[in-house]
Symmetry: C2
Subunit: 316 residues, 2 copies
Amino acid sequence: MQRFVFFGGKGGVGKTTISSAYAHKCATAGLDTLLVSTDPAHSTADVFDQRFDDDPQRVDGYDSLWVMEIDPEREVSEHLMEVKRALGDQVSPSIVNEIDRQVELAHQTPGAHEAALFDRFIEVMRDSEEYDRVVFDTSPTGGTLRLLSLPQYLEGWIDRLLSKREKSVDLYEKAAIGDMEPRRSAVGDPIIARLRERKENFEFAGETLRERSQFFLVLNPDELSLRETERAIESYDERDLPVGGLVMNRLTPEPDPEEDGRGARFLRQRVETEREHLQRVEREFTPPLVAAIETRIAEVRGELLAEVAEELDVSI
Amino acid sequence: MQRFVFFGGKGGVGKTTISSAYAHKCATAGLDTLLVSTDPAHSTADVFDQRFDDDPQRVDGYDSLWVMEIDPEREVSEHLMEVKRALGDQVSPSIVNEIDRQVELAHQTPGAHEAALFDRFIEVMRDSEEYDRVVFDTSPTGGTLRLLSLPQYLEGWIDRLLSKREKSVDLYEKAAIGDMEPRRSAVGDPIIARLRERKENFEFAGETLRERSQFFLVLNPDELSLRETERAIESYDERDLPVGGLVMNRLTPEPDPEEDGRGARFLRQRVETEREHLQRVEREFTPPLVAAIETRIAEVRGELLAEVAEELDVSI
């Protein structure tokens, strides 16, 4: 298995449970494992009955399992401050206010969460060499896929900006217009340096995602979830990202054979419909089905987590 | 009730069922009712067992119910062609290719679907004066709320563009630069005309949504759905959009009292958890709970649709 393992899928399908179970599996097999949770509801805290934050913390009762929780809201505001500071250093004071307004507006757009989170993911991927396995329960916003294509999009864009910026520095040097000093060469230019850094960052991310990562998609046995998963598989394929398998979660449990009544009829009907969906996944979807997991009555934690981990037919 | 009624909520909560039931209720009470469906799965076709398209069609078996289905994909490509055509008329031939590329790129962004759909919604709101009631099963993409704030955002932006454009036309007239003719006054200018039209369009939408519309939110009895609904209510409030009530959908049915076994235990546990969620909604959420609807074994259509309509405590 690759070092970085992502569990994707729409909000509510059970990504946190499945990725916690997989992290449990890796850790109990002796691998130093980091679970990175981005769920704003902080449900890893429920799974392991322990509070986590932005710094990896060892989980009680495990020798080699660590958890960190990334809060997307906090990432966005820190990202905002960092961008403002970086731009403030580079532009003339007269337009700082206008730029601050533009940057604030940009951070209110729907993509801002994903952009900030992705920056954080890249940091984690860079700084986690001491772990054998890093497991992400990807953001439930559904924008994750778009994010993953950022490197390709941005590389061309940054290249164009870079060449424009280099031309304009060149012009400044030749003309030495106004009070601009000729020392503004491309080498020491702070804007070019920053663009290069961003580009390099995204190149690293693209390579790491394509070559050192594996993606699993979690889904539920209903029409909508199948449709969304189909679309997700296409997007991963388009971006050459390896989808290792599908995890069907939240299957309705069957009633006992002797049960009879309104409840049992309801459940049997459900189980029947869900079985059709499951068969369609096995028949029509390219990535293999690596687990089909029944809904538990109790919350998945402790003993149950080990049980779910057992059901995951995923190598560690 | 207002003329325009929207049923919002995340994908999969059952908006199409609920809005079909509400449309049924209005139509059987004698109101000329148009149901506008945007679900890419075309589930109104399932509900009424009839095919629909972009033009309102009367539903078999009803005197005063019409359905139209809007396909977001088709709207995006038509919107794309229309924007290209309009821009092509207005710019010099040398940059048409570059502009086409930019417009295509813009239409691949996540907001493009919502933008195109919203344009279509405005058209429907303008052209539906012959109906007493127009019911929307809003798009399941979750971007609908962002869309609804477009008028406010865009008005300021268009105003600024308008004033810049007017200044530049003014300059052209004074200078009569190159081969530009002074006839390019602000009055006959096609770009200014188009911007004014867009602005007027969005003003109409904003007014109609605030003053002649009512919004209902459909949710399911789980933690994630409650959290998303809480956030949605806030966004509606921020934009002065009237949330008329909440519809709790997909409640698990209780087993018969004498049932006992694995299935019955599972269902009772579920019902208990869902009851807690329902109580939290009644206690903590500001808009009233106007219906709490149990999951049906069969698909909701025909007789069942009338039954669900009965359960909606919403005036017509």
